[in-house]
Symmetry: C2
Subunit: 190 residues, 2 copies
């Protein structure tokens, strides 16, 4: 048999980046061929169709996000400080000139008219909330941890939209300090 000429993971990453930036509907399969260097037949053999490729790309992105959070919170000297660092790095992303929010948040809004994809995205965002919740349960009881995880997600979603506005960083930082008063904002991040 012929060896697979491409790495599945790498292709998923490339198409995730494309779908993320351009959006599901605005991305054509031709663009996918260009960005991955694959020919139509190869993509269709490997992934089935556009929707299936999108689903796998999204899932791949979500898994990477979960691992990133897991790593950050495990490495941090304490969980709340770790959360502050994650939020701070999100704020810094808003400085990037080609900022384009979060793939999951963008997909949640774009695909609200397509029940199957919508469900997938919702589940994945809830996995992220559940992960925060799990970590917070190390220091709070369950209802408290869940409430704080929800409040955190609400603020993250806010950041993911508000970051499109220029010069928003300092204003968002202020709002976060008011809105998430249980986080150790005064401790400076190394």
């Amino acid at each position: 048999m012929a060896k697979m000429q491409f790495q599945r993971e790498q292709v998923l990453e490339q198409s995730a980046n494309l779908f993320w930036r351009v959006g599901y509907h605005a991305t054509s399969m031709q663009q996918v061929f260009q960005h991955t260097g694959l020919k139509p037949g190869s993509v269709y053999l490997a992934f089935g169709n556009k929707e299936a490729l999108f689903k796998e790309s999204l899932t791949h992105y979500c898994q990477a996000s979960l691992q990133g959070i897991q790593a950050s919170l495990s490495a941090a000297s304490n969980i709340e400080l770790g959360i502050c660092q994650i939020l701070e790095s999100m704020l810094e992303q808003s400085l990037n000139s080609d900022y384009c929010s979060c793939f999951l948040v963008k997909s949640q809004l774009e695909l609200s008219d397509e029940p199957e994809l919508q469900t997938l995205v919702s589940e994945q965002l809830q996995q992220i909330e559940a992960l925060y919740s799990e970590f917070l349960m190390h220091i709070y009881d369950e209802p408290e941890a869940k409430a704080k995880a929800c409040s955190l997600m609400l603020h993250i979603f806010g950041i993911r939209v508000y970051s499109y506005h220029q010069g928003s960083l300092e204003k968002m930082r202020q709002a976060l300090q008011v809105g998430l008063p249980w986080l150790p904002w005064k401790l400076r991040i190394n």
Copy 2:
């Protein structure tokens, strides 16, 4: 000359609803013809092309939003109570089974790859923030009013994404009370 067979405003409302629910790229002009009852030629004569129709639809929606906020805050016995009422009505929208966020927020995320449309959406969202800011300046000094308007928008954006999750209403209400502590949450709304 032949009388215009349709009301421009009504057509803009119909197409805004379509673009809002389905998204800009996923909405075909054929769908526009169906929903408005107009023929291709009429739409193209009246609005130019798809992008121009979208822009006008979006602007129409934004103007209606601004007027709604203006009306709510003018009618309220005090501004902060009025803001609470607006937020409460947003929370209640999340109960609707065909909830689909806010046209402006959805557009901001979907069109991040199209500079011209992106700029338009950003400006309109900033108009809304400016309107809140203006009202808040009746009771706070300028920097305070601006900071509070920003924090309010951050929470509104959060609601507009988080509302897709089922059973989110009570959790969001809690998060709002923590995140916007300067609002009169304890006063019950009539």
